[in-house]
Structures are given as C-alpha cells and as structure tokens.
C-alpha cells in the first residue's frame, strides 16, 4: 500500500484519499473544522493547514501522494491555527457559558486543544438576531463559523438547499433559502442530515438544551484529538 509521512510517522492511503482523510483513518488528529468525513471537503477554515516541502497546504483538499513528508504538529502551525481560532471567536458572539452546545462544540474543543485562554483580538460583537420561526429547531447565527456543512448536508444529502453562504470576504454570512429568510418557511425537517451536522451551536433542537450535565458531554470525556475518528467508527 502507498504511504506518506506525517510528522515522521508512516500513514498508508488509498488512491484518491486526501492527507486529512488518511490521517483520520489512521487515528491521527490534524485540527480541522469545516471538514467532516461524510462530506466532500470545503477547504475554507484552514485549520487543517500542514507543511509539505516548506509550503503550506490545506490537508483536507490536498491529495495524499507516495512519499510526501507532511509536517503538522509543529509550534509554527499550531500558533497559526490558534490565531485562526481566535479570529473565529471574535467574529461571532461566542458566550460559551450560555451556549447549549458547550461541551459538545468542535470550535470550543479545538480552542482547548490549542491552549487558547483568550481570544486576543478585539471582539466584533455583531448583531445577528436568532431565528426561532421553526417549530422544532432554532438558528443562533451568532455562533456560525461559515463551515458550510449545513449547506452541503442540505444540498447533497437532503436534496433541499435550505442553507447557503451569501456575501463575500468578511461580509460572508449564512442565509436561509426562503423568501422571508426564515427557517419556518422552508421544508427543513428534524430528520434532515442538516439538522445534526453543525459543529457549533447554531442549528439547535428546541426543548432539549442543557440535557446532558457538565462532566458527561462529548469533550468532557474525550479531548478532540481522541474523539475525531469516533465519527468513522459510528458509521461502520
């Protein structure tokens, strides 16, 4: 089988696999937020950036190739990952103590992994009203990190196109595909893949918040680096 080196460790891959896919299958963690093993990569968050022959590259979009020497766990890359994470925190409104997703949130868990103790930059405090128009789900846009997983899930799995990313650059934002812009006016359903794919606390089921006590939540029990390939085991 073909293989490449990840931080000096041999990782085998199948033809067509990306570096991140092969790493996750081997139980190796490369920080990432917009990648999910069930979806085609989006390549937008850049948390998964690695260094190959002195050049940076997103490991979720870079195809694995025989003999590559990939660096990931370096002080330099982790410092840049931390900066990206801090920017995500200040761009939205992330008040973890009052967020239902706290303890189950991949952004928060990634920040823990990277040792973030403050968001460092000035906070934007954007004004993003909550959409509670749907009877079963609410959208808290304050926490959206624009990973596009809900967009991909709704379009590619649910065949519905409920979500889209609109605008460009710093003005990019999540929109709901209805004339009113409200989730309640779409055909979004609780059984949709898009209902369960958000890595942070945007797409939330009503009436069940804080149902798991502190200490028993996903990342209370497992560091994100140890959790990451559990998504593959759940599928098989």
């Amino acid at each position: 089988m073909k293989s490449f080196l990840l931080d000096g460790e041999r990782i085998s891959f199948e033809e067509g696999e990306t570096i991140l896919q092969a790493a996750i299958r081997a139980g190796k963690y490369i920080p990432h937020l917009c990648f999910h093993p069930e979806f085609r990569p989006h390549g937008s968050c850049k948390l998964c950036t690695v260094k190959i022959a002195g050049r940076q590259s997103a490991s979720c979009t870079r195809l694995a190739a025989e003999g590559l020497e990939v660096e990931s766990e370096t002080a330099e890359l982790n410092a840049e990952r931390l900066l990206l994470t801090q920017m995500l925190f200040v761009e939205g409104n992330h008040f973890c103590p009052s967020c239902e997703k706290s303890g189950d949130c991949q952004l928060q868990a990634t920040a823990y992994h990277l040792g973030m103790t403050s968001a460092h930059f000035d906070h934007f405090y954007p004004n993003r009203p909550v959409d509670a128009s749907h009877p079963e789900y609410l959208l808290d846009f304050n926490r959206c990190i624009l990973c596009s997983l809900c967009v991909r899930a709704s379009r590619d799995v649910d065949n519905k196109n409920v979500f889209a990313l609109a605008g460009r650059g710093i003005a990019t934002h999540l929109v709901v595909n209805a004339r009113s812009g409200k989730l309640g006016d779409t055909d979004f359903a609780a059984t949709d893949k898009a209902a369960s794919v958000c890595p942070v606390g945007v797409i939330l089921k009503k009436g069940k918040g804080f149902s798991v006590p502190i200490g028993s939540r996903t990342f209370d029990k497992k560091e994100i680096g140890e959790w990451v390939d559990t998504r593959l085991k759940e599928r098989t």
Partner: protein, 178 residues
C-alpha cells in the same frame, strides 16, 4: 521569602469568580503564608497599593470600571483577567449588539415597575460605556484564567505555579470556558 502582595477587584462581574477563589477552601491557610492581600472585596480595602499581582473579575461596562482597571495596571506587576466576563465581556456583553440608548429607554421609560419616566442621571453614578469590553481591549493583560467561573483548582494551579516561579499552565482537565 517576602510574601506576594495581591489585589483583587470585581468590575462588571457577578462575584462568582471571587466565590470560586474562596472555594479553594482550607488551601487558603497555605496561601496566606505566601501572599498578603491589598485592595480586595475580601477585606474591603478601597485603594490599591503597589502589588505583585492583580486579579480582576468582570469586564468593563462603565467609566468607573475603566478607572479601576487602569489603576490596577499601574500598580500591579502582573495583571490577570479572571473568568469569562473579564476575557470576552461575558453575559453583560450580550447587550452589545443593541444601542445603549435603546436599552436605557426600554428599561427606564418602558419597563413596568422600574420606569419612573426618567433615566437616572445622578453625578455619583458612573456613566455606562456604549459597549461592554473585555479587559485586554483597554490595558495589557498578562494572564487569562478562563471559566465561568474558573474552578478553584484553576485559580489554585495558577497561584501555585506563579509562587513556584513556573510559567502557569492549564492542562486539558482545567481549561474550560463554561
């Protein structure tokens, strides 16, 4: 060994971080062997003197908060933001997307029970800031202790690391934002 001089203050916080500090329980006996308290709600000293360490809970929601913070920065060799509100504004900062005038009108002119038709304007009252700010947006902060509140163990780990001359560090079991 000279004892470390420590000052603490609550700005736009709920005193939860101070309560958590007290939750170090009997370890406080060990602590007072090594530290001496300057200004703090614990002893009610009102003015901060020259200190080794300043611990600040809460963000900045009014002009007095800013004054106290600047005073602490001048007097404390090491200044620490303690807890979620000091670090990102926390719950008080959830007013930030709404203009201050809209909030004051709603509460003092509209809300039944509190509304007396006037917005309080006593010169003794510090002016509210347009937005609530975390500490690091106004002065340099040397360390951040996350958590709402940071657990007694986090505070203890920080203090004992510092007293031992180690760079304070929190492992995954201590790093929490909630």
């Amino acid at each position: 060994m000279a004892r470390l001089k420590v000052a603490t203050a609550t700005l736009a916080g709920c005193f939860g971080c101070h309560m958590s500090f007290l939750a170090i329980d009997e370890r406080i006996f060990e602590l007072v062997e090594h530290v001496e308290f300057d200004r703090s709600p614990i002893n009610d000293i009102k003015k901060v003197g020259e200190c080794d360490l300043g611990l600040i809970e809460g963000g900045l929601c009014n002009s007095e908060n800013v004054e106290v913070l600047r005073e602490f920065r001048k007097k404390c060799r090491i200044l620490v933001a303690v807890g979620a509100c000091a670090i990102n504004g926390g719950l008080p900062a959830q007013r930030n997307p709404i203009p201050l005038s809209v909030i004051l009108d709603e509460i003092y002119l509209g809300e039944a029970g509190i509304a007396h038709g006037v917005i309080p304007n006593d010169p003794e009252l510090p002016l509210p800031l347009n937005k609530v700010h975390p500490l690091h947006e106004v002065v340099k902060i040397d360390y951040f202790l996350p958590g709402c509140p940071p657990s007694a163990d986090v505070i203890w780990k920080f203090l004992t690391d510092l007293l031992a001359g180690r760079e304070p560090e929190f492992g995954p079991e201590l790093l929490h934002y909630d």
